[in-house]
Each structure stands twice: as C-alpha cells, then as structure tokens.
C-alpha cells in the first residue's frame, strides 16, 4: 500500500554535526563530486565554488549569515519528551538523548531575534541533522513562538525550512503542529507584517503543507528538493519515471509556487532589499501623517 501515502521524515539523520559539510580539510562536493578545500566552501557560505552546490547550513549558521551583528537566540532550551512512549526498533526517548548528544542541538529548530540591514527580524530556523529536521511538538512550538514574537513586537518573520516533514514518533501531536503554526500566521498576516519563507534542501511533507507554503514571499535556495509527497512514493503511484528536475526549486518557480531563487552568497543582501521595499511603506505612512494628505 506504499503508493497512497507520502514518505515522511526519515531516521536518516546526518552524522555530520552542525552543518552538512563532512569533516576533514578536503571535501567531496555533493554536486560536482570534485574535491574542494573546506576553507573555500566556508568562505562561500557553504556553497561549492565550482558548481554552486549548496551544502546544508545549520540554524546557527543562518543566524550568523543573516543578522547584522549580535542577535538573541530563543527557545533552544525546548526538548522533546516522548509523549506517546513511542518505540520502533529504537525507543524514541533514547533516540532523542542520542541525537542531542550527537548533534549538540536540543531539537530540530531554534529561533532568534536581531537586526538585518537595520530591520528587526524574528527568525525560526530548522536543523536537518536532528531527526531529519522533523516537526514534533518542539519544532511546532519554536516556529509558533517566532511567529508570535513577530506580531507581538511588530516585526517581520522569516522561517528557514529544512525538513523531511512531521515527526512520526509523536503521532497526531506532530500533525497538529501544522495547524498550530498556520493558525498563528493568520495573526501575523492581520497585523500587516510580512512572512518570508526560505525553502532549503529538503523541504517536504507536513512542513511544506503548512507554514512553508504560507509565506507572502517564497525564496528558495537553488536546487533544493521541495514537495509534499516524496519522489519515491510518487514514482510508485505513477508507475513511471518523473521528469528531470521534478520537485526542485527551479520546478516550483516554473509552476508558480516560489517567488525567487537566491544563491546563498547573495541571500543577506536580497533579504535586506526586500525588507527595505516592504518596511519602507510603513516609514512612508509615518511620514504622511506629518503632512495631511489632500482629499
């Protein structure tokens, strides 16, 4: 019956710690398979200087990359508690402890607040290295708090999506995080504040089918896998091969679900530009009040 359900977040956790870049001085690129110097990649914001392949970046990596300087990290003290007593081949409770030790992360998302180009910005960023970036109660809460911080403190919100989907080990509780995060986005929207989503590799399943597709602006990193059902499931459903580039950022741009594809090396500047355009209007409204508009 494999053909009627999406493939959800896997247990294929990367063992590479903070970022997706393997250890060692010389690294084989996931795009061009060439050997590249680690320092070169790090200088280019974890992008291969030869083929522009984007290695996965951690939540902290993105905070460092995007904010002007200092920023406050929020909600990285939330941990999963195994509400269902879930056990597959491994107990979820043990998996949580082991993954926390291995990755140095408390769960698959962190939030932060800081300035970017002078604009205040609330960010929630996900970490694929923590159980495939899957969304359980903690991730749902971290994203929700980042959104709430946005509408309570009147600042734009950016979510950096990087996830295999909802976390199976928390059952329906994970599923409901989709509704919870989406519900809070209505408040942000009604407060007239922009919600920006950065779709990175991969963004699939329940994360795509909730906040990651609800942005006022959808920015994708090049070549990211973005979709609802996993390619394997779709292939089995269709009984045929999928077109080349199916479910990539470029494919979603063509189909109308992504606004912009931005290289990570230009991401900060482009975000500042976008925020200037949007938040500038608010500045103009303030200016207009000084000189009453003619009727």
């Amino acid at each position: 019956m494999s053909w009627f359900k999406r493939k959800s977040a896997g247990i294929k956790t990367s063992s590479s710690g903070r970022n997706d870049v393997p250890d060692g001085q010389w690294i084989k690129c996931g795009g061009c398979s060439d050997t590249v110097n680690r320092r070169e990649i790090e200088k280019q914001n974890l992008v291969c200087p030869k083929c522009d392949y984007h290695f996965k970046m951690s939540s902290m990596g993105y905070f460092d990359l995007l904010y002007d300087g200092d920023y406050e990290v929020h909600d990285d003290n939330l941990i999963s508690v195994d509400p269902l007593g879930f056990k597959d081949r491994k107990a979820y409770a043990d998996r949580i402890v082991a993954t926390r030790e291995k990755t140095g992360l408390n769960d698959a998302a962190k939030a932060a607040v800081g300035k970017i180009g002078g604009h205040s910005l609330s960010i929630a960023a996900m970490d694929f290295s923590f159980i495939g970036g899957s969304m359980g109660s903690v991730v749902g809460e971290v994203v929700t708090r980042a959104i709430r911080r946005g509408y309570e403190q009147k600042m734009p919100v950016l979510v950096i999506a990087q996830s295999g989907g909802a976390r199976m080990m928390e059952g329906a509780l994970s599923l409901m995080q989709m509704a919870k995060t989406s519900a809070h986005l209505t408040r942000l929207s009604e407060a007239g504040l922009p919600f920006i989503v950065l779709l990175t590799n991969p963004t699939t399943g329940g994360v795509t089918a909730s906040f990651a597709m609800l942005g006022d602006f959808h920015i994708a990193e090049p070549g990211a896998l973005i979709g609802f059902a996993g390619p394997r499931v779709i292939r089995e459903t269709m009984g045929q091969d999928l077109p080349k580039g199916f479910q990539t950022s470029e494919f979603l741009l063509e189909k109308g679900f992504v606004d912009l594809i931005i290289d990570r090396r230009e991401l900060r500047q482009e975000l500042i530009h976008l925020l200037d355009l949007i938040m500038e209007e608010k500045v103009n409204v303030r200016k207009k009040k000084k000189t009453p508009a003619a009727k």
Binding site: W3, K7, D88, S137, M168, M178, A179, A209, M213, L214
Partner: protein
C-alpha cells in the same frame, strides 16, 4: 443482538463467523423437524456466540480498529450526509482547475430537531471513497488532488459569506501523491486551508468518520470541535508507511499502529479529540443509520454551545485550542 451479515469478513472476525455458521446449521436441523431436541444445545451455542462477539469487539487492538475504519461496507461521507441532512445540494468545482470527486460538499438542512437541537442550514463536506471497483477509482480512493482542497475552501468561504456553520467529515488514506498533484501545489492547497480555516468566523465541527491520514485529512480538519467515531483512526502517517520507514519493512504495521496511538480514545488522551462517538458493536457498517444518529447528536449539542460565542471568541478559542496541543519540556 445478531450482527448484520456483511460480505467482507475481517481476519479477526473469522472465529466468530465460524461459530455463527455452526449455529445456523443447528437451527436448520431443528427446522427440518428431525425429532431431535436441540433446544438446549442451540441456547448454549447462542450464548457462546454472544460471548465471543463481545470479547472480540470489546477488546479490539489498534490495528483491528484500523481495519474496521477501512471496511469496504463502512458508511462514507455521502451516506452520513444523507442521514444527517435534508435537501442536500452538492456543489462542484474549485473554479480554478476542475472538480474533484474525492471531495464532496454542499449546503443542506441539518436535521437538528431529530438530534436534540433545531433544523438549520449547514455547509457539510468531506472526503469521499467509492463503493465498487469503478467508483473507487473514480473517487481516487478518497485521496484528493489540490483542486479537492481548493473546492473545499471555496465551499467553506461560501458558508462564511452566508453565515452558516461548517461540518467536515474526514475519511482519507492521504492526499493523492501524484505527479500532477505536486505540480498543482498539493502542499500549498492543504496549507492554505489550515490558514483560512483557523480564521473563519463561523462554527466548524470536524468529525473523523474513518481514516484520518496525515495532512490529507487535516486539510479539512481545523475546527472548534474535533469529534471522532470509535473505530476511526487519525495520525501523522498510516501504520503501513510508518512500518516501511521506521522498521524498513512492511511487516510491522500492527506494531506501528500500536506505537502511533492513533485511535479515538488515544486522541482524547492527547487532548486532540473532544468526544468519541460510539459505533454499533462490530463497527459502523453494521448499522449506518444509528452511527449517523450518534454523529448527529454530537453535532447538535456542540453547535448549540458554539452558537453562544461571538465570531471573535470563536476564532480566539479555536487558535487557543491548537496552541495547547503538544508536549515538551524546558531545560
């Protein structure tokens, strides 16, 4: 109480069916008037049948409930809509791409006076499965494409415009995982519904009537009340797919069903479901009308409560309801 005969027997029901067959045989012999007095033996067997039936159906495992939720004779959305409403007008199409037969909905008069409140117009919609091979394919096994979710949204927005309550019936093995579904934005369609349903200023009652598989179910599942039939299941993934991913084998679906804690009673404990609606012994397919009546009574009582709230209160309490779902600790 003798259960209605159904053509599809579930594996765990076989011992009961065998015993029932034996009972029939003995009755037939007596009817032939062979002169043997089988009265005592028949009475004894009847009580054994009753005991066995009770012990099977009162101790259903999670996986057995999943099987009942998928029973081919189980009442589907349109069956309940027929039992719950009068003058139902089915509306079609998303006005963007097409009409999706895996999702049905329209306006009708909810027969509230039969269930303890009052008659009133409602928007009622749900996933729809097909009954025979041809219809199962036509209804895409109850798996909507994006246009199904967009039709549902259009109908719910109509309900808002005319200030009518919304009732949604969940029964899907998941959103359709096809190439075209992805191209037309399956994820966006579901996400949009979660967003819009969260802020609709009319009461929304969600009833899980069969299978509640993941985002495909949740796509019409954000509401003020979550009700669930006793043998329905609702989770983030089906037991089969959970088994395939976490055990790397299709053989652990029973373990997966147990681990996922996906039954109505489980979801009450997880504070997701507000009320479990009982089914007739053996499952809803033994008596669709009484199952619908149970749903009707629950809807009537919850609608009366929700009517007392202003639109602002309704939306605030709906968001607060989802806010409280989830379990974590701080270190």
């Amino acid at each position: 109480m003798a259960a209605k005969k159904t053509t599809h027997l579930l594996e765990f029901e076989r011992p009961l069916a065998d015993l029932e067959a034996k009972l029939e045989e003995m009755r037939a012999i007596r009817n032939e008037d062979t002169g043997k007095d089988l009265g005592d033996s028949i009475a004894a067997l009847e009580s054994r049948v009753d005991d066995l039936r009770t012990s099977i159906y009162k101790n259903l495992t999670r996986w057995q409930r999943v099987q009942i939720a998928r029973h081919p004779d189980r009442p589907y959305s349109l069956d309940h809509i027929e039992n719950l409403t009068e003058g139902f007008v089915e509306l079609h199409g998303d006005r963007l791409f097409g009409d999706d037969p895996a999702m049905v909905g329209g306006f009708g008069t909810f027969k509230g006076s039969k269930f303890g409140s009052e008659d009133q117009t409602v928007m009622i919609l749900g996933h729809q499965k097909g009954r025979d091979t041809k219809n199962r394919k036509y209804r895409r096994f109850g798996m909507p494409n994006p246009e199904g979710y967009r039709k549902a949204l259009r109908l719910m927005e109509l309900a808002v415009r005319f200030n009518k309550p919304i009732i949604t019936l969940l029964d899907t093995p998941g959103a359709f995982p096809g190439q075209e579904a992805e191209e037309r934005g399956q994820a966006e369609a579901i996400a949009r519904n979660l967003f819009e349903m969260a802020r609709m200023p009319v009461p929304i009652i969600v009833v899980v009537i069969g299978e509640g598989a993941s985002g495909g179910a949740l796509g019409i599942g954000v509401g003020d009340r979550m009700l669930m039939l006793e043998n329905a299941w609702y989770s983030v993934i089906s037991p089969e797919n959970c088994s395939a991913i976490l055990w790397r084998s299709w053989d652990y679906k029973e373990e997966a069903a147990r681990a996922l804690k996906l039954t109505a009673h489980d979801l009450v404990e997880q504070k997701i479901v507000d009320e479990v609606i009982p089914e007739p012994l053996g499952g809803a397919h033994h008596d669709a009308v009484s199952t619908s009546a149970g749903i009707g009574k629950a809807i009537a009582s919850h609608l009366s409560q929700l009517k007392k709230l202003s639109p602002e209160e309704l939306i605030a309490s709906r968001i607060a309801k989802f806010d409280e779902i989830g379990s974590f600790a701080e270190v």
